[in-house]
Amino acid sequence: MLAPVVHVLPVTLVQRKRLLPATGKVLPRKGQKVTAAEVIAEANLTPDHVLLDVARGLGVSIAEADKYIQRQQGEEVAVGDVIAGPVGLARRVVRATQPGQVVLAGGGQVLLQLEGRPLELRAGLSGIVTGLYPDQGVQVETVGALVQGVWGNGRVDSGLLTVLIKSAGEELTTDRLDISLRGGVVLGGFCGDANVLRDAEEQQLRGLILASMSSALVPEAMKVHFPIIILDGFGRLPMNRAAFRLLSTSGRREAVVNAAQWDRLAGNRPEVILPLPPTTQTIEASEIVQFSADQDVRITHGPHIGEVGILNRLLGMVTLPSGIRSQAAEVQLENDESLVLPLANLEVLK
C-alpha cells in the first residue's frame, strides 16, 4: 500500500518549484542566489480596468470615433495623455485619467488596464535558482535540514532560531516573549493563548514553529504577519520526537519558515528548512514509499497523534476499537508500548 511521507531530515537536498497561478514576470536569473522572503516572480492577477467611451467624449459617432483614437493596443499611457482627438473647433480630446496600458481599442471605446499592486511570489527557501519556467516561476535548490508540518498560515520568512522550550510538550506562554526575539524565529511547543500570537506580532517575530495549537486560534493565526507553522496538529499535542530532537538542537541557526497552506494537489506542504553549506553527504528525501516493516512512522490521527514509532509488522484487515475494519499495522512507540493502528493514520517518517 502506498504510504504518505513526512520528512524530518538533518541534511538533504531540497528542490522546490515556485510557480505563479497565472502568467507574470520572473525576476531572478538561473544560478542566482535568492533568500526565502525574496520576491522571485510577480503577476498582476486582478488588475483594474477603465473603459473610456471615446465616441461620447468626442461627441462623434462610434464609427467616426475610431478614426480619432491615437493609442494602440499595448501602449502605455500616463495621466493626462491624449487617448483620442482632437475633434472640431473646440479640439475636444479624451485623456487618460490614470496611468495604464491600452488593452483594446475600437468600437468607439478604449479599454485601459490600470497599474495595480502585483501578486508577489516569494522564494520560500534560501538557495540557488536552478531552473526557470518562463512567465511562471523558478526552481530553487538548497541543502539543509528539512522538517515538514501539517498546517501553515500562508506566510514565509526566515531568521535565527531561538528555542524557547525544554520539552516537546511545553506550552509557549506570553512571558517567554520579549524584545530579544525581534527578527528571529521561535520554536515553541503548544500554543493555546491568542495573546501569545499577538505578543509575537508586537515583538516582530519572523516565524513561529509550534508542535500544536488550539484550533480556536486559527482566525488569529491567519491575521498575523509572520509565518506560523504547526508540525503535529491541533489541540494540546507534544512535538514529535524526531522534529524536536532536530529543531531543539538547532538554536542560533538560520531557519526558513515556509508556512504554506497544505495543498496536496499542488504539492505544497508547510515546512521548515535550516540551510547548510553545500555538501554531497545528503539523505535523499524519498517521496514514493510503500508501507513495510521497520519503517519509522508518525501517527497522524487518534489518541497518539504526533507520536513516532517503528512499524513492526503489517497486520492486514483488523477491527479497530471503534469497530471500523481497516488495513492496519503494529507500531512500537519509543516507550516500547505497542499499538495496532490503521495504515490510514500513519505516515512514513523519512
Binding site: 500500500m1 502506498l2 504518505p4 511521507v5 497561478p21 497565472a22 502568467t23 492577477l45 486582478t46 488588475p47 483594474d48 480596468h49 477603465v50 473603459l51 488593452v103 483594446l104 479599454l111 488596464q113 501539517v150 498546517w151 488550539s214 484550533s215 480556536a216 486559527v218 496538529g233 491541533f234 489541540g235 497544505w262 495543498d263 496536496r264 494537489l265 499542488a266 504539492g267 506542504r269 517521496e287 514514493i288 497522524t300 490521527h301 487518534g302 489518541p303 497523534i305 477491527t319 479497530l320 476499537p321 471503534s322 469497530g323 471500523i324 475494519r325 481497516s326 493502528l341 490503521p342 490510514a344 493514520n345
Partner: protein, 587 residues
C-alpha cells in the same frame, strides 16, 4: 430474463475520489449482472505522483488479486475488450470527483430568475459560484469586467432571456464577460456555457468563438416560471470533464479507456437516483439519494422524471471539513454526540481531520464525532437542497420534507459504520423523513458507477439495483403532528406472511424497532391518533402498506418533526444512547 437478452459484457468502473480510487468489476453470473468485487487505493492526483494513473493501477492491482483477472497489459493500458485468456474487460466507465471545485461566474438577466437558474445549474456539479452578474447590477462595464477577473473563473454560465423574449439586454451584459475573456491570456480563459435564449446562440457563437471553450445548452429558463436544468447538465458535465482533463494528470488516459465518457461522480450519482425515480414513479413519492464524501456531499432527489441535484463542495468529511463551521455552530454538531466531548476537542478534531482526510476513527469517542459530523453535514446539505424541491411534491400536510420512497445512502461514513444501527441513526437524525419510507444502503458504493454505466448498459444498472448492492436497512414509519411527550400517536398492527400478528402503540417521543426478518413481507396497518399524519392521505387518516423486512426490521420514529432534542446536554446524551440502543447498537 431470457439468456439472449443479457449481453456478456464485463464492465469495469473506476471512480477517482479526492481520497480513494476504486475499481469495481461487474460481470454476468448465471445470466444476470453481478458486482464481483472492488479494489481500492489512495488517489494519487497530488504529491508525490501528480498523476491519478498510479492510484488507478494500484486499485486495479487489488481488484486483480480478488478477481484473478488481469486488467492491464505490458504497456500499462487497460486491456479492452476482454481476451480469450480471460484478461481485460469489455467496457470501462469512469467518474471523477477529485479536483478543486470549479470557480463559476453566473450571468443572467433577472436576479431571482435567470441569474438564479445559472447558479442552480452551477451547484449541480463540483463548483463554487464566485460572482453573479445580472441586469439589476448597477456597476459599470469595466467594474463588471474587473469583478469577473477577480473571480478567476474556470467557467462562466450564462442564462437569461425566455424563449422568444429579451435578447439585447443579455448581449449588453455579455460585453463585460467578453472583455474579461479577451484580456486574459489564452491558456487562462474560462469556458463559457450559454444556456439562455436560443435566438442568441449564433450571436454568442460569433462573439465568443475565439475567446475560450464555448458550450451551448438548451435554455434553462425557457419561461419565467419554468426552470429546466436537466438538458444543460449533460453539457455542464462536459465542461467539468474538459476542465479535469486539463487539471488532473492521468485523467486523459482514463478518459480514453471510457471512449471519452469520463463523468463527474455527482452527475453519475444523480443519474442513478433519477433512474430509480422512474422505477418508483408509481408511488408518487420522490427518491432521495445522499452521498457523503471526503471533499463534498451530494444530494440528489428525483420526483418522477425531475431531478434535483446539488453538490456541496464545502461540506465533506475531509479537507473541506472546517467549512462546516461556517454553516453550523459547534453546539449544533455536538447535539448529535452521545458521549460527553468538549467543543474544543470537537473543533480540534475537525481541523486535524482536515489535514489528514484519509484518517480513520480509532476509538469509540472519535467514531461518535465522525458520526455527529456526518449527521450535521447531511442535514445542512439537505436543508440547502430542499429549497429546490418542487413545491407540488407530495408531502405531509404539516410541511417538512416531501415523502420519499426509497432513501438511498452512500459514502463510506455510512456504509462502513461498524453497526447498521449507527448508520440508521445518522440518517434518521439528519433527514428526519416523514410518512413511510424504505432506507437502503449503497453498501458496495456503486450508485455512481451504475449511473455512469446506465447509458452504456442499462440492463446492468437495472439488475444491479438489488438487495445485494442496496441493502434494505429498514422501512421507517414517521408520523408527523403535535402532542405531549408520551401521548399515544399511532397504532401499528403488523400482519406477517405466516398470519401471525404484532400490535404496538407508539407514543410521541419514542423510537421503536419492530421485528421483521430480512426479505420477509408483512402488511402494516397504521391508525394514527390525535390527527397525526402518517402519509396515508392526510392528518388522522389510516391505511395499510406492504413492507419488506430490512436489516433493522421495521422502525417507527415517533420522536417528532422537526426532531426536538432536550436542551440539557446530559439528558440529550442519555436519549441519544437510548435511541442507539433501540436500534441495536451495542457500545
Amino acid at each position: 430474463m431470457s439468456p439472449s437478452s443479457v449481453s456478456a459484457d464485463s464492465v469495469l468502473s473506476i471512480e477517482v475520489g479526492s481520497v480513494y480510487t476504486r475499481a469495481v468489476l461487474f460481470d454476468v453470473v448465471e445470466n444476470s449482472y453481478r458486482f464481483l468485487g472492488e479494489g481500492t487505493a489512495f488517489t494519487t492526483a497530488g504529491a508525490p505522483h501528480y498523476d491519478i494513473s498510479e492510484g488507478v493501477r494500484q486499485a486495479l492491482g487489488e481488484l486483480q488479486v480478488f478477481s484473478g483477472r488481469v486488467f492491464l497489459g505490458a504497456d500499462k493500458q487497460l486491456i479492452l475488450p476482454s481476451q480469450p485468456d480471460g484478461s481485460g474487460v469489455d467496457k470501462c466507465v469512469a467518474t471523477l470527483s477529485v479536483g478543486p471545485p470549479l470557480r463559476v461566474v453566473a450571468v443572467g438577466l433577472l436576479e431571482d430568475v435567470s441569474a438564479q437558474s445559472a447558479q442552480n445549474l452551477a451547484v449541480t456539479t463540483y463548483a463554487q459560484v464566485m460572482e453573479v452578474i445580472n441586469m439589476n447590477d448597477r456597476r459599470a462595464t469595466a467594474a463588471r469586467l474587473d469583478a469577473v477577473l477577480r473571480a478567476r473563473p474556470d467557467l462562466i454560465i450564462v442564462a437569461g432571456g425566455t424563449e422568444g423574449g429579451a435578447s439585447q439586454s443579455l448581449m449588453n451584459l455579455l460585453e463585460a464577460v467578453g472583455l474579461a475573456c479577451y484580456v486574459l491570456p489564452k491558456g487562462y480563459r474560462p469556458s463559457l456555457l450559454f444556456a439562455g435564449n436560443q435566438a442568441l446562440v449564433n450571436s454568442v457563437r460569433s462573439s465568443f468563438a475565439d475567446l475560450g471553450p464555448l458550450f451551448i445548452a438548451p435554455n434553462i429558463r425557457p419561461a419565467i416560471e419554468v426552470e429546466r436544468l436537466l438538458p444543460a447538465q449533460s453539457q455542464l458535465s462536459q465542461v467539468v470533464r474538459q476542465a479535469r482533463l486539463r487539471q488532473i494528470f492521468g485523467a486523459q488516459n482514463l478518459d480514453q479507456w471510457t471512449g471519452g465518457k469520463l463523468m463527474p461522480t455527482a452527475a453519475a450519482f444523480g443519474r442513478t437516483i433519477r433512474f430509480i425515480g422512474n422505477e418508483y414513479a408509481r408511488t408518487q413519492k420522490g427518491v432521495l439519494g445522499v452521498d457523503v464524501g471526503a471533499a463534498s456531499t451530494t444530494i440528489a432527489a428525483a420526483f418522477s422524471d425531475h431531478l434535483v441535484l446539488n453538490v456541496h463542495p464545502r461540506l465533506g468529511l475531509g479537507e473541506s471539513l472546517p467549512g462546516l463551521l461556517s454553516a453550523s455552530s459547534l453546539d449544533e454538531i455536538a447535539r448529535w454526540l452521545p458521549l460527553e466531548i468538549s467543543n474544543d476537542t470537537l473543533r480540534d478534531y475537525i481541523f486535524n481531520k482536515a489535514v489528514y482526510p484519509a484518517s480513520l476513527p480509532v476509538t469509540l469517542e472519535e467514531l461518535s464525532i465522525e458520526h455527529a459530523l456526518a449527521c450535521q453535514i447531511i442535514q445542512v446539505a439537505l436543508k440547502k437542497t430542499a429549497r429546490n424541491f418542487p413545491a407540488d411534491a407530495l408531502r405531509s400536510s404539516y410541511g417538512f420534507l416531501p415523502y420519499f420512497e426509497p432513501i438511498i445512502a452512500s459514502g463510506s461514513v455510512l456504509t462502513q459504520a461498524p453497526q447498521r444501527g449507527q448508520t440508521l441513526m445518522m440518517l434518521l437524525n439528519a433527514i428526519q423523513p416523514a410518512g413511510v419510507t424504505t432506507i437502503a444502503l449503497d453498501q458496495n458504493t456503486i450508485a455512481a458507477a451504475l449511473g455512469a454505466v446506465a447509458s452504456l448498459n442499462p440492463l446492468l444498472t437495472v439488475q444491479s439495483l438489488d438487495s445485494n448492492n442496496f441493502q434494505n436497512l429498514c422501512t421507517v414509519i414517521s408520523p408527523v403532528g403535535e402532542a405531549q411527550l408520551g401521548t399515544p400517536i399511532l397504532r401499528v398492527r403488523v400482519v406477517y406472511g405466516d398470519g401471525s400478528e404484532n400490535s404496538v402503540d407508539i407514543k410521541y417521543g419514542s423510537l421503536e424497532m419492530i421485528k421483521l426478518p430480512i426479505g420477509q413481507t408483512a402488511t402494516v396497518q397504521l391508525h394514527p391518533l390525535h390527527r397525526f399524519d402518517v402519509g396515508m392521505g392526510g392528518p388522522g387518516r389510516s391505511g395499510s402498506v406492504k413492507v419488506v423486512g430490512g436489516g433493522l426490521g421495521l422502525v417507527v420514529d415517533g420522536r417528532g418533526r422537526p426532531l426536538p432534542l432536550p436542551a440539557e446536554p446530559g439528558r440529550r446524551r442519555d436519549l441519544l444512547k437510548k435511541w442507539l440502543w433501540t436500534l441495536g447498537v451495542s457500545s
